[in-house]
Subunit: 611 residues, 2 copies
């Protein structure tokens, strides 16, 4: 299995480890040190040796930061993790702050007068470092960039960096030659009057060079760096142990291969004489900026030039996504059919998640496209656990799925041709009237996004409320965005596209996003319904004037009709749902296990004619 259900951490080491760190801090002459949950690449998943926050504190969430001072230590986490952080860490050692309401910079501005706060400039972005520095300087303190991370000095058995093999991502999946991608990036640099950029995001390396790796969980990344220049060959910094003969031969055609340890020296030499480097202030490490400026180069703001073209999938990638979703839909249908055969109380959250992964593995093998990983730890939540938006089931929280309980399952897969992410909410027995109404309101939100047509330039923020309108009318809402970007056999959370209040990126042809409205009743139940969708090209509308974008739905699995109240639907909504179910049956019906077929036909039956 690609997922563990063990408890992830142990709070009991916190006191000793913080004490060791404090000794080291004293020897460095600093009053405090920041420990973010981040590596040099600012991704969602980090390698084991970069889990410094978890090692130090016990906290295993995917975002957060510790601040260790001489006589107190704090952990900043966001609203998702307020309960978890208290379970996983020692309250005698740590106090807790809200990462959003009281950011570390803000906290330091209020409480850090005169202090010298150390940080590892490889682990903070340029933007973060700027905020922290100005906060410290405003109160007569200073932010001190350290040459080595003091956590590493006291972490005795720290795991070595990963060296998983690099795999070439074939053109039949990537759809575009790396040579062309790199040429376009060089042209973009020249247009922005930059000489070079340093790519620190491994997703950008993966996309630009058509390579994949296995250095972190659930996302097929090879950790490394690259320098792309307006003129001249790109340089790729990868641990040579990751490269077999074939990968080395392939990459040598595209770039100069260099050891990661040489990056600092190379950047310095290239910066010498005033070269202009474009860096993404929200992605690139502060240390890269310092290296350039110390050598006399100039840093200007430039969005990672791989980011937007990577988000706009080409026709080959979209066709791959369709195939991956047919396969993944068949696996999910096998799971849902199995689930429907179980009895209330006869299956628990771990059992369900385990069966779901087994269905994916079996389907991948049967159809000749193996499951390469799950795209994130499956969220498998029954009853009240379904109301915890980022629930991770463990042996300690595992719960049987009882009669009349909603069961929320949010999962995804990594196949060579695409990344999936899907949520369905199903029930054993009869839902209450309130469950049906609210499930239907959530589904109305999903359908509103699915049916949307919109002109060029429309941003995710412009349509986010389409998914909320029906819930708002009932005095309800959900506390997360409607959709995130999704990569092509890459990260399941990809920017810059999103459907959210903060989604300022225009939605462009080929972008893949999730469409996942929800409703959560704390202590009772949760509902989330999620399809992946892809932005279609501007298309003329009959009798219309403006070619409009829309969405093609990729995900193929039925919604549980027992929890739908069709009286709340407009005609176009019921028509969408019937057409969607017909399509699921047509595209997935021949791919499922034989014993799934009858259930699927029933689950995809059209609703009775709508008055």
């Amino acid at each position: 299995m690609y997922q563990s259900f063990d408890a992830l951490s142990d709070p009991s080491h916190g006191a000793a480890r913080v004490a060791a760190l404090r000794e080291k801090m004293a020897s460095l002459g600093i009053d405090g040190f920041l420990v973010p949950r981040a590596d040099e690449h600012q991704g969602e998943y980090v390698a084991a040796g970069s889990e410094r926050l978890r090692w130090l504190t016990g906290f295993s969430g995917s975002a957060g930061m510790a601040l260790v001072l001489a006589n107190r230590a704090l952990i900043f986490v966001d609203g998702r993790y307020t309960l978890q952080v208290r379970d996983q860490t020692d309250p005698a050692v740590f106090s807790y702050e809200d990462l959003i309401a009281s950011r570390p910079a803000k906290w330091l501005e209020a409480n850090g007068a005169g202090l010298r706060i150390g940080f590892d400039p490889w682990l903070h972005t340029i933007g973060e470092a700027k905020n922290l520095r100005s906060a410290m300087e405003a109160v007569g303190g200073s932010l001190v960039a350290l040459a080595a991370n003091p956590v590493d000095a006291v972490w005795n058995d720290r795991p070595a960096p990963p060296t998983a093999p690099v795999v070439i991502h074939e053109l039949r999946y990537a759809g575009k030659l790396p040579r062309e991608k790199l040429r376009d990036m060089a042209a973009a640099l020249a247009a922005a009057k930059c000489d070079h950029t340093v790519l620190t995001d491994p997703s950008s390396l993966a996309w630009a060079f058509n390579i994949r790796g296995n250095d972190v969980p659930h996302t097929p990344l090879a950790l490394g760096f690259a320098i792309v220049s307006a003129v001249g060959e790109p340089r790729l910094y990868l641990d040579e142990r990751k490269l077999d003969i074939e990968a080395r031969a392939y990459l040598t055609q595209l770039c100069t291969l260099r050891a990661p340890a040489l990056l600092a020296q190379d950047v310095g030499e290239m910066a010498h004489g005033g070269a202009r480097f474009g860096l993404d202030p929200g992605l690139a490490a502060e240390r890269v900026k310092a290296l350039i400026e110390e050598a006399g180069g100039k840093v200007v703001e430039l969005a990672d030039p791989a980011r937007l073209p990577r988000a706009m999938k080409n026709p080959v990638e979209i066709e791959g996504a369709r195939a991956a979703h047919r396969r993944d839909g068949a696996a999910l249908c096998d799971f849902l059919a199995w689930f429907a055969r179980q009895s209330p109380g006869g299956v628990d959250e771990i059992g369900a998640a385990t069966m779901l992964e087994a269905c994916r593995t079996a389907t991948g093998e049967r159809l000749g496209h193996p499951l390469l990983d799950i795209s994130f730890d499956t969220i498998s939540g029954a009853g009240p656990n379904g109301a915890i938006m980022h629930y991770r089931v463990s042996q300690a929280t595992n719960r049987p799925i009882g009669d009349g309980e909603l069961f929320l399952v949010d999962s995804g897969a990594q196949y060579r041709d695409g990344t999936t992410d899907v949520t369905r909410t199903v029930i054993f027995g009869e839902p209450t009237a309130q469950m049906r109404r609210r499930f239907t309101l959530v589904l109305k939100g999903l359908i509103a996004i699915s049916l949307a047509r919109f002109p060029e330039g429309t941003r995710g923020m412009d349509i986010d409320a389409f998914a909320r309108r029906a819930l708002w009318s009932d005095g309800l809402d959900f506390a997360h965005g409607t959709g995130h970007g999704v990569g092509s056999y890459l990260s399941v959370h990809e920017g810059p596209q999103r459907i959210a209040r903060t989604g300022a990126q225009a939605l462009k042809e080929g972008m893949i996003l999730s469409n996942e409205p929800g409703y959560y009743k704390p202590g009772a139940y949760g509902i989330r319904l999620e399809n992946l969708i892809v932005v279609t090209p501007p298309t003329p509308v009959e009798n219309g004037e403006i070619a409009m974008h829309g969405f093609e739905t990729l995900t193929l699995a039925p919604f549980d009709q027992r929890v739908i109240d069709t009286s709340l639907f407009a005609r176009e909504e019921i028509a969408w749902l019937d057409a969607y179910h017909a399509r699921v049956l047509e595209e997935v019906g021949d791919l499922v296990k034989p014993e799934t077929r009858a259930w699927l036909e029933q689950a995809c039956a059209p609703f009775e004619a709508y008055a």
Copy 2:
């Protein structure tokens, strides 16, 4: 009448006036001079003596900028004015640029290398001046602040500044004492760690001191300035000729009255010693910033502290708005009933606009609340003229309203208790199927906004697309925002609230906005439907969890049922429309002229039961 239908300008003076300006420029040692359509207060309407752009060029639009160089002259206007500017100015003297695509700063950065460009720092905001200055400095030129405006030196018969009397805006309309408003503003300054602010927006003076004036068309402003301080009495700078004994006695209780000519000196004295001034970079004149900094003061960014509280109308202002809208709705119904009695071809755009104003005057007199002004020049457009979004009818463009033609009329009024703004689109004879369909889609947009419920923190940009969704589905759109803020017997265009892609301000209780989706078919017809709406307080929803804002509709006038295709409506839409028409009849039915009553009953009849 408050509106003229004459041609507003004469292109024939341009050559001589530009020549005179160039002589003056040469004597000042500058290579170019910028002439914005702006005064010291950055409002939509300016006094006659501030119409420098119109005087110099002939162009009478409400936004634009000329740039006069030694051997060429340009006018920058936005998309609304591309045709008008060519009619009103001499193409032998001026060339034309797009104000949005090619901003003056951008144009100068591309074409102004090494030039010394003069500007009048009273007529440009801090933000504008910053952009212009950095553009010039990037190309080795400079932006030169002039002590006197060279246009004024060559404009011989330039009108004197206005001195219309200041009128006290009584508490029964204002709803809050100026003493309390000024105290709140002082507290806001202290909270922002500012010692002072300079208010340059006459709307802020009007709101803070509960005064109104008549210095510019259509908006009851007294032009002037104020300095509000965290500690100490406010200072108000008004021409003393505007103050009768009563106004002077009233204002003396609230502030120190000073002559406008003393502002510069006072600011300098207050800035001496390093005082901190909060200034709104999008509103305050660059000259104010320079005065402060030259005297040793510090300028920090601070939104005009009157802006947000002014936008959130208090209960007395909202009750006034309701009364003003009943009265104004009665006048509009009288007009629409009169219109329905006319024959195709028997009434033209000017005739209609004239009758509409006469109906407002008569209703105001009859109901004891006189019409004090129209809130903007009535847009009265038949057939293809209705497709021109900011059409101003003149003798030259006047057009009879023919059979089967849509007629768009967008108008508003100023009453002591409120400002109105309403658009209806009506027809003589039978609409085409396309007209009916598109009219109904626009109306669906208006209804979607009217029915919206939304949680605290929702911004105008979050719901703008509600008004477009039905049009987008048909491949249509409209090229303006859905709604602008509206003042309380103040400007008909008021910030910061808007419903638009750029509407980043959260919608708060008491804000008045327009709700005006449209559709424009160039050369054929235009449709716009506009109601004013007010944000209601957060209100619990039955069986819901979150108290939700919504909108109360203020405007009261029927929509032309002959142009509505009810088959396109959902049940909730038809229910809204029937309830709205019933309310119009109930609230306005007793206020209209006797001959209007029968028409109104017909126009407000419910639709046949909806299957």
